[in-house]
Assembly symmetry: C2
Homo-oligomer: 268 residues x 2
């Protein structure tokens, strides 16, 4: 029963590396992914740059850190994690990606993947040739615009995570993380209060800069406090308001909200 977060669109598990295409306009992710704000006929063009569709099983690698960069990937179903590895072997999980989110944006500048990406469960991925994509951007201005927006949003996510790692307590971190997932699931039409974690405790801890044990303890504490129920990887949030409160106001990557006007403390 591993598969959560399954969108109806996922190709049948069978296929090899590239399985049969579905036009972008017919994709369930239609509104989440790039195409947003692109005209009907331009959409056909977008289909052109989709090099391949790939199916990954849990634990399989999409690309490795250090590898030359050619393509950007969109998650269609399932989920991925990205991570970098330090020379001493320590690993830092840098992000989790849900359906409709783009992976490998950090590779553009260097022309190499600074991080690796791995499937957390069976997943289906769209692969865009970046070269084609750029060429196409010339003809379809909306595409470039949207791309800038997506990247800016990603920047924002990282900033929130920075705030989390730099300033927040373990409790605040986990609360913010769970809240972030809730919001992202809701955006995708799933329940915000009842979902499955596709990542291990250790991935969560790594991502949040905490030890596995701490994550585990917090889960049981949250449960004792009546905030939520956790059973293995299933999360059921009972009191999302209190969870928000615990998280401070940083809803890590779901945020449409803005710090309510910073205090103008007179320039100093």
């Amino acid at each position: 029963m591993a598969g959560n977060v399954k969108l109806s669109v996922a190709g049948p598990g069978g296929g090899g590396v590239a399985d049969k295409r579905i036009a972008c306009r017919d994709c369930t992710l239609f509104q989440l992914c790039l195409p947003l704000g692109i005209g009907e006929d331009e959409l056909a063009l977008l289909d052109e740059v989709i090099t391949a569709r790939r199916s990954l099983k849990r634990g399989e690698t999409l690309f490795r850190g250090g590898a030359p960069f050619h393509a950007i990937y969109a998650v269609r179903s399932g989920s991925l994690k990205t991570y970098t590895i330090m020379q001493d072997g320590r690993e830092q999980v840098t992000g989790f990606y849900l359906p409709g989110e783009l992976v490998a944006l950090d590779a553009i500048s260097l022309g190499r993947h600074p991080s690796s990406a791995k499937a957390l469960e069976s997943s289906s991925i769209c692969e865009f040739s970046f070269q084609d994509f750029e060429r196409m951007g010339v003809r379809v201005p909306g595409l470039q615009r949207q791309m800038l927006r997506v990247m800016s949003r990603e920047l924002l996510n990282d900033e929130l995570l920075l705030l989390l790692l730099g300033k927040k307590s373990a409790e605040e971190r986990l609360a913010a993380f769970l809240l972030s997932l809730a919001i992202r699931f809701r955006q995708r039409g799933f329940s915000a209060t009842d979902y499955n974690l596709s990542m291990s405790r250790s991935d969560i801890g790594n991502y949040l800069g905490l030890a596995v044990e701490t994550v585990s303890r917090l889960f049981t504490r949250f449960q004792q406090d009546g905030l939520l129920r956790v059973e293995r990887r299933r999360i059921r949030i009972h009191d999302i308001d209190r969870l928000s409160l615990l998280a401070g106001d940083t809803a890590l990557s779901g945020s449409q909200r803005i710090d309510s006007a910073e205090v103008p403390q007179g320039e100093r």
Copy 2:
């Protein structure tokens, strides 16, 4: 003598908000800033979207978190810090910006500035209307390309910082930070081993997720170990190799280097 990092290009301090323009092609930052890879005549166009030049004195705010987003800024001389403020008043410094770097890229997606920006010293700033900029991107493909690269690089920086905050010790963090500055100064034609910090100890600590006291102690320790000499805000690095070693290999935001091919640990 507060003023370090001064590029010869900086307009005379006098001017009010917007002082006399200098064409992009005549700017010392020419190669660092956006124009890279843009043709001669297209450069003239870029000048068009520069709404204003602004001079900021130390401590002055360029924009505030929450404010509507209209423009992107390029640092011409001096330096800025960006930071967000949590509802409880705690502040997280999210970045330091040197000449040639672009500020406010994280504001594009929401149409509001998620963070605030403040001058660390007297600084001169180019302001680009983002609307004009996007319109212009249609005509000048190279501009969009470059913009994607700049944003991707920024993403990369954040990831490295994430790694720093999530996994590294206080010592590693400060070493990586000093190294990062060294590399960025060198890119700008300054000495990599002898420079002035424009930010306070407290800004550094905040940025790195450390207490001021810890930063201070580390500075004196580094000095005792013969790594560098620090006198107030002046840094003189004696043994940059050892500093790199201390930093792990994460040279935070200077990195042109890539984790030397991650170990292929067989999928699991």
